[in-house]
Amino acid sequence: MLAVMEKELRMFFRYPLRVVSSIIVGIVFLVQFIFFGQAVLGGRYSSMLAASTGMGDYPTYALIGYVLWWLFTSPIEAYIFGIRRELQRGTLEINMLAPLRTIKFLIGLSLGWILIDNVLMGVVFLFGVCLFKIPLSWGIILKAVPIFMLAFVAFLGFGMIFAGLVMLFKNIGALGQIFEFLVMFLSGVFFPLNVMPYWVRAVGNAIPLTHAINIVRGVFVGKSYAEMAPSLQALLLLSTAYWLISYGIFRWAEKITRVVGYGGY
């Protein structure tokens, strides 16, 4: 697995401009919506947002949502584009023949990308904190880190669903990106969910990102874990459920691809 990770890291850093471009894409995407919100508000504080979510400072609200959304999409992209890159290079079947289990190869492939992606996300987060003067303290960081870790376990399980799908359908990059953007609307990344119809909120509640965002925003406004118990329970429950579902899908996809082959790009 380490060898697979090392291979991915070496290939990524072979083109240093890609590092810069990934960071700039992340920053531009973030500032578009925060600047838009500030222009509409004529400032950074929204009493309406505070009333509906408990957090009135829009840059803080949007930055938390965006960073967690990035963390959520990281495993999905890792599985989809990791496999796609191997297919494009024509190296997937050769790597599948290597003396390691398929699941280990896929996890190594995705962990390499996730590592890179999370470092990039950290840089964008720090940039956002400095640019928008987000109030950040060690207390908040220490309290938020376990939530980030718990959320990441849930997101990994969720992303595994795509590992199974990509083995079956190969080129699902566009589908994956459509899904990622859709999640922005369902999980309240840039706007409060109370503006959405009830059924949309219900769907959003089945996505672990929605609860992770609620908890971390709660941490930023000084809520205790006990006050956020319903969201914590939902996150734990969804984490278990998605790991079971994704493992089932993956095993099924693996069984089918052993018969029909991995195919080319």
Binding site: V25, V40, S46, F191
Partner: protein
């Protein structure tokens, strides 16, 4: 001369159309991208203010309907990015596929090759924009004076000249890079951030405002928004500035591209 170039021009357009058709999901993702930004704008606005109009935005720009403000800006941006992507992404794709040198060796003039790439994208973008206008009218109850919008088309064409110039200069740079994809992404993102599509430039730090004014996109957006809202009389200064900056970019783009092409003839193209 013109007649002999029409056939290869048509051939380049047909080639690109066939490539486009072989990935039909692009239609869906292209349409969804515009929908995504406008829907986000609407929901952010409602979530933050509870209303469809923003007095703060009106004070800054003269537009109180933030959806109309964002739609106009995004339409100019999408139109403008067509030139950048037409000139540059096609060169990048040909480099990646290893077919650029063959195409450059084909019996057609170089501008014909670039024009063929850009024309198809312009046609596609215009279709998307018309589709967006109708869709947003129904979906988001968009309030735009369509007559005023049509009146602003000459301003868009002046801005397009500057955008073509920037696209040509970028195409020149691309010939030199070993892995040009990330360079183009950085350029596109800078254009996106500094175009003033989603927010007024006055909200940006001073340094970024100057950078935004130095590119042809934000001045085009500013002039169009002013013409649509207040007419040509009020937009005189913006139009004069746009004419100046577009002229500079046309000249710069032509000189930069010719120079890099001359260099590439000596040192060869960097294939991927």
């Amino acid at each position: 001369m013109v007649a002999t170039e029409l056939r290869p021009l048509w051939a380049v357009m047909v080639k690109n159309w066939r490539i486009f058709l072989s990935y039909k999901i692009w239609f869906v993702s292209d349409i969804l991208m515009g929908l995504f930004f406008v829907a986000q704008a609407l929901l952010i606005g409602i979530g933050l203010t509870g209303e469809r109009n923003s007095p703060a935005l009106q004070k800054l720009t003269g537009y109180s309907d933030y959806v109309a403000f964002a739609v106009l800006g995004l339409m100019v941006l999408f139109f403008g990015l067509t030139f950048l992507s037409g000139f540059v992404w096609n060169v990048v794709d040909e480099l990646y596929a290893g077919t650029l040198e063959y195409n450059f060796a084909a019996p057609m003039r170089r501008p014909t090759f670039f024009l063929g790439n850009v024309l198809l994208r312009i046609v596609m973008t215009l279709i998307y924009l018309i589709f967006y206008l109708v869709l947003f009218k129904f979906l988001f109850n968009l309030h735009l004076n369509f007559l005023a919008f049509i009146k602003a088309v000459p301003v868009l064409l002046i801005g397009a000249l500057g955008m073509i110039g920037l696209g040509m200069a970028a195409a020149g740079v691309v010939l030199y890079l070993r892995d040009p994809g990330p360079f183009i992404t950085v350029l596109e993102m800078l254009v996106f951030a500094l175009s003033g599509a989603m927010y007024p430039l006055s909200i940006l730090p001073k340094g970024l405002q100057i950078m935004a004014k130095a590119l042809p996109y934000a001045p085009t957006t500013d002039a169009i928004r002013k013409v649509v809202a207040f007419g040509y009389g009020s937009a005189k200064n913006e139009i004069v500035y746009l004419i100046v900056i577009s002229s500079v970019y046309v000249l710069f783009g032509y000189v930069a591209y010719k120079w890099s092409e001359k260099q590439a003839r000596v040192i060869g193209l960097k294939s991927y």
